[in-house]
């Protein structure tokens, strides 16, 4: 198993190196002059040239790329050309918000998606199956930003039961920062009121973010369960007198979720990138809004760092998914070993 994990990690490293290089080149060939942005509205050409020289933006592209790769490999993501602060600090401030939202959305999507997929498969071609199919197609088809605004209008403006935006009511302040995850930090501070408020703020963005993922997981689980139900071991288990629910929950589901686990890994990356639009609508101060602001202000250092961080998170999750698959189905690890 250890060899298997090392192999998966070794495969991720060249991909990350490629990501660093390609994103750097892309960021420097698109129009826009970070020096002009940094200099501000009232700057003179001399001031812009001065800043360009100070940040090495006047050097040849290859030299800039080399410096960038060397910096990143030494763990330095550089300073934001806009705020002047270390990008790693700014990202550390934002990342927990995105991860908290993504984890909660993924949790929703996985639990509800697997349950719905299982129920639909067990009621194959029945009314529940049809209903789940409609929900899953709808979940994939609906545009996230539209759904976000509809949920805001209904739950916040019309019924006034959930907050519209942000992570926490300003009147409550914030719990002392330990992890940056407000759910955890508020509990650690013993502030249940903050925990409930953070949870209330999470509901609408998490539901919006989870819906397409939920639909995907439900569809894959359904097809996995249907396939497993045709297997001989299921027939023998039935003959041995196992109940339908016990059979499905213990034996069928374990064999059926291998594909679902892969989907969960892919979804994690999709959710992080999908969070860009949802964070903007719900004013969620995460990595997505940071990336949008970096794009609008031509803050290429910030943009490169965001891409790299998302890439690393994606790579780590993929490795974890591979490990999870090997744990669920030992044949996977054996085949590769």
């Amino acid at each position: 198993m250890a060899l298997y994990i090392l192999r998966r990690i070794a495969l991720a490293l060249p991909a990350l190196f490629g990501l660093i290089l390609v994103t750097f080149i892309l960021s420097r060939v698109v129009p826009g002059d970070p020096a002009a942005t940094l200099a501000g509205d009232a700057a003179t050409p001399a001031q812009i040239a001065d800043i360009r020289a100070r940040y090495g933006l006047d050097k040849p592209l290859l030299e800039q790329a080399f410096v960038h790769v060397r910096q990143v490999l030494s763990g330095d993501l550089g300073n934001s050309v806009f705020s002047g602060r270390p990008v790693s600090e700014e990202i550390l401030q934002r990342l927990p918000a995105t991860l908290e939202l993504t984890f909660v959305a993924l949790f929703f999507a996985t639990i509800i998606g697997v349950v719905l997929g299982l129920i639909a498969a067990l009621d194959h071609n029945g009314p529940i199956d049809h209903l789940v199919r409609i929900v899953s197609v709808g979940g994939l088809a609906v545009a996230s930003f539209w759904l976000a605004i509809m949920l805001q209008l209904q739950f916040s403006m019309e019924w006034d039961i959930l907050p519209l935006r942000g992570r926490m009511d300003v009147a409550l302040g914030l719990p002392p920062r330990i992890t940056g995850f407000l759910l955890i930090d508020s509990l650690a501070a013993g502030r249940f009121d903050m925990f409930v408020d953070a949870l209330r703020h999470l509901v609408l963005p998490a539901v919006t973010l989870a819906l397409p993922g939920l639909a995907t997981i439900a569809r894959f689980t359904r097809s996995g369960v249907l396939e497993a139900l045709q297997k001989d071991y299921v027939l023998y288990a039935r003959a041995a007198g196992y109940g339908r629910v016990r059979l499905a929950a213990i034996y069928v589901l374990r064999n059926a979720v291998t594909v679902t686990v892969t989907q969960v890994g892919l979804l994690f990356g999709a959710l992080i990138s999908g969070a860009v639009a949802i964070e903007a609508v719900f004013d969620w101060p995460g990595l997505g809004t940071y990336a949008v602001q970096a794009i609008l202000s031509a803050d290429y250092k910030a943009l490169l760092a965001v891409t790299l961080v998302v890439g690393v998170v994606y790579a780590v999750v993929n490795v974890l998914v591979d490990v999870a698959q090997a744990l669920i189905d030992p044949r996977v690890a054996e085949q590769i070993s």
């Binding site: 002009a36 001031q47 129920i119 805001q152 101060p285 602001q293 202000s297």
Partner: protein
């Protein structure tokens, strides 16, 4: 819903649905699951005690990228400049009056080169130390050495060593040449506390990395650096020892939470729901009625000094031909755009200076929407060899809807005179990054020029004097020796009446040459909660001075 509150109604309905579910087979699992959801919803729907407490002021306008007042100068940075820092002079009211602030008075030598400022006694920084002449000199030296945006108004005429202390409360500035807008630009410079910055200086950076997320000011509000998140959250508390005192405001606001809201629709909804107390001051005109209909919100409307401009690159054909420029100027439907699309929430502006600024010529007539005239000028331009057959590119700031709307309307009208306009989506940095050279400057682009300091130099002076070519403000690359002469004379002349005449004449010549298309002067529209009173607008800072405001509960 009867007498029940929404939360209780939702909980009751949810429980009714749950208990009605059939309790057998697959339904057992579903019922248990539904029960869990219902219980969660009931818990989440419970109102919080905290909401009953008095809320701080929640300001929903944009935050600057850095809190260092010497590192950036744009519209958002004016918020920290006005609330956390003080300058020697400050603009107040609308029309803006330049008032002594940390300075008590000033004098200028007859040749316009030596400016002496006397500081008022007793003004203190947030750490309790008194503001001295040395602190003022340090602030200017820091600004001039860092050479970032706010220094642009000073660097052509002032060097760090020419800022000297001549007494405990006296600072002297010796300029290399007379510069009449020197006093008008004085509010750009925040006076910072060197004693607070000194321990944080790294590699001769003047403490810039530290000050990007901290403060060293004397303003009416103190920043809480522990809760600051760049462009996300800024918390401020009232500074009781603010040098101006608080006697002018019986109920000053103690706590301010700045929470910028990125999306316009969310910003408006958040205001209407009471989650924020103020939007930015550019509320979309189609949202004004909606905000005013809401019983707990209102819209503050104030004519500002912010001109909407469609630029033309005068160095590139066909815009190197005056008739071609006039053809475009007569093909824009000013009335349709201002009165229909923007619903009349703007004021038609005839030239580059805002209407409400001094230095405009008497009876300056704006260009009219007249397609017959446009065709006539186009024909003349063609006869003179101008190539009007190629597609003309107009760059819009994609995130600013008005620029897109103006370009789309212009495109339709230009098609009627046989011209092909191609709309290119872009961003502010994308465009301004390209305006450094005439060859890379777009054919046309759309933007506003806001109030950085109140002087025609901020508009006509820096937009049409050829010495500013290479800056985004002068990106039409207009060149007229007579205009250059008049603007330079106005810049070095300290007699206001004479400056007024020089700017008026320069403006008249510029408008006759039509290097750009000036569309309107902005009416700032800020959505406000009705619990906010005392809001006072000034074109510099767009009404963001919190010390003047009070909160009803």
């Amino acid at each position: 819903m009867g007498q029940l509150c929404p939360e209780a109604w939702l909980a009751r309905e949810a429980m009714r649905v749950c208990s009605g579910a059939r309790n057998k087979g697959l339904w057992t699992m579903m019922t248990r699951w539904m029960h869990s959801i219902c219980l969660t919803l009931t818990l989440l729907a419970a109102p919080l005690d905290a909401q009953a407490q008095q809320r701080p002021l929640v300001w929903g306008d944009t935050l600057p990228a850095t809190l260092d007042p010497h590192a950036i100068f744009d519209v958002p940075s004016q918020f920290t400049l006005l609330n956390v820092y003080d300058g020697l002079y400050r603009y107040q009211g609308n029309p803006p009056r330049l008032e002594p602030w940390l300075a008590e008075s000033h004098s200028v030598s007859a040749d316009g080169l030596t400016w002496d400022f006397t500081l008022r006694a007793g003004a203190k920084f947030h750490d309790g130390s008194e503001i001295t002449a040395e602190d003022v000199a340090y602030s200017f030296r820091r600004l001039l050495t860092m050479r970032r945006a706010p220094s642009a108004a000073f660097t052509p005429v002032l060097t760090p060593e020419r800022v000297t202390v001549t007494g405990p409360r006296m600072v002297r500035f010796v300029l290399s040449e007379p510069y009449a807008p020197f006093l008008a630009a004085m509010p750009l410079v925040a006076i910072v506390n060197p004693r607070v910055i000194a321990p944080h200086v790294v590699n001769n950076d003047w403490g810039a990395a530290w000050l990007a997320a901290n403060s060293a000011g004397s303003g009416a509000y103190r920043i809480n650096p522990a809760t600051y998140q760049a462009r996300v959250a800024l918390d401020m508390e009232r500074f009781p020892d603010f040098f101006q005192g608080w006697s002018g405001n019986a109920r000053p606001i103690d706590s301010v939470r700045v929470r910028p809201v990125l999306e316009t629709s969310t910003r408006v909804l958040a205001l209407m729901r009471g989650e924020i107390d103020a939007t930015d001051s550019y509320l979309p005109t189609d949202q004004v009625e909606r905000v005013e209909r809401n019983p707990r919100t209102r819209v503050a409307r104030d004519e500002s000094m912010r001109v909407f401009i469609i630029r033309m690159n005068n160095r590139r054909a066909p815009f190197d031909n005056r008739d071609a420029r006039l053809c475009f100027a007569h093909a824009f439907n000013y009335e349709g755009f201002n009165n229909v699309i923007l619903r009349g929430f703007v004021v038609r502006n005839a030239g580059p200076n805002p209407n409400n600024l001094w230095g405009n010529p008497e009876g300056l007539a704006p260009y009219t929407f007249d397609l017959a005239k446009a065709r006539e000028h186009c024909d003349r331009a063609r006869a003179a060899g101008a190539d009007l057959s190629r597609p003309i590119e107009i760059h819009v700031q994609n995130e600013l809807e008005q620029t897109v709307q103006a370009a789309q309307m212009f495109q339709a009208d230009l098609r009627r005179v046989g011209l092909n306009l191609r709309i290119v989506p872009n961003t502010w940095p994308g465009i301004t990054g390209a305006t450094g050279r005439a060859e890379t400057t777009p054919d046309m682009w759309i933007h506003w020029v806001s109030t950085y300091f109140v002087d025609p130099e901020n508009w006509v002076g820096q937009m049409y004097d050829s010495q500013f070519h290479g800056t985004w403000k002068a990106s039409s690359w207009y060149s007229n020796p007579e205009v250059d002469r008049l603007l330079r004379a106005a810049r070095t002349n300290l007699v206001q009446a004479e400056r007024q005449l020089l700017y008026a004449e320069a403006t008249r010549l510029v408008v006759a040459d039509s290097p750009d298309i000036w569309v309107y002067n902005t009416v700032n529209l800020r959505g406000l909660s009705r619990r906010v009173s005392g809001y006072s607008f000034s074109p510099v800072g767009s009404g963001g001075e919190i010390r003047l405001m009070s909160l009803e509960n």
